[in-house]
Symmetry: C2
DNA sequence: ATCATAATTCGAAATATGCAGAAATATCGT
DNA sequence: ACGATATTTCTGCATATTTCGAATTATGAT
């Protein structure tokens, strides 16, 4: 992982590193209707909730929820689509791929300037990855 | 996921949500020798690096690295073991399990007070999870 | 006992974050 | 055009975070 990849991944993790945002995501994943037309004939993207719907599942001001949704959008974790007066949010499943790659142990080129020390401390054994 | 589970997960994500900490983890995962004895006869836990070794792979003050290691330790992402003058750090693979569970879509009981609204906005279709 | 080294803790400065209320913007229905 | 509704943006404030250097603690070597 090069520097910008690390920073990109850190951004995703940071977006997930807040209980409110995590709850928003869970709400979107678990409470979104998977049909496009509800009983009032309203049309919405499949698997999405409006900002207000997300909001009423959480005890927080709408301005706060809106702020967190923006963070999630910037991190690429959700997508939004405006339909008339409502903005519908849905999870972007692709955004979780870098996390999976990280979990699966992406041990490529190694960070900045690896392990090169001039003084002190025992050198790691020569079998180390470098 | 109940409230405390969400908060626990958020803590882990928050710990991962910093480029420096991510680099530390990658250093530990990729640069730790897997043998216990190095060429100088020094003994260390398998798959570990001393704080100084971690530090010299990153352009940051040791006090900073120490601080981040503490955060990672609190989040359960790494373990540390003191041997003489050195403290050896290694990744705790179990800590990543909750993340995997999250990725695999743990859609249990749903957050706080789900989707119960009194006014406004189209109700989600009746097929929704509730 | 003294010294050098490894690491943590402390203190301070700069910056970022979470939150909510008020104002602004956009859209729909009448 | 007007009022109601959905959402964002702005503003202010309290709190948290990142970072470093200096002081401190712990250990091993001489």
């Amino acid at each position: 992982m090069n520097t910008s990849q690390v920073e990109q991944l850190a951004l995703i993790f940071k977006a997930l590193g807040d209980p409110t945002r995590l709850r928003i995501l869970q709400t979107l994943r678990c409470c979104s209707p998977d049909v496009e037309i509800d009983e009032e004939g309203q049309c919405r993207p499949a698997g999405s909730l409006s900002v207000g719907e997300v909001c009423c599942g959480l005890d927080q001001a709408m301005s706060t929820v809106s702020h967190h949704l923006k963070e999630l959008r910037i991190a690429g974790l959700i997508r939004t689509e405006k339909r008339g007066r409502w903005i519908y949010c849905s999870v972007n499943p692709e955004a979780l791929e870098p996390i999976q790659a990280f979990l699966d142990g992406d041990c490529s080129p190694v960070p900045e300037n690896a392990l090169v020390r001039e003084t002190a401390a025992p050198e790691p054994a020569s079998t180390s990855v470098r």
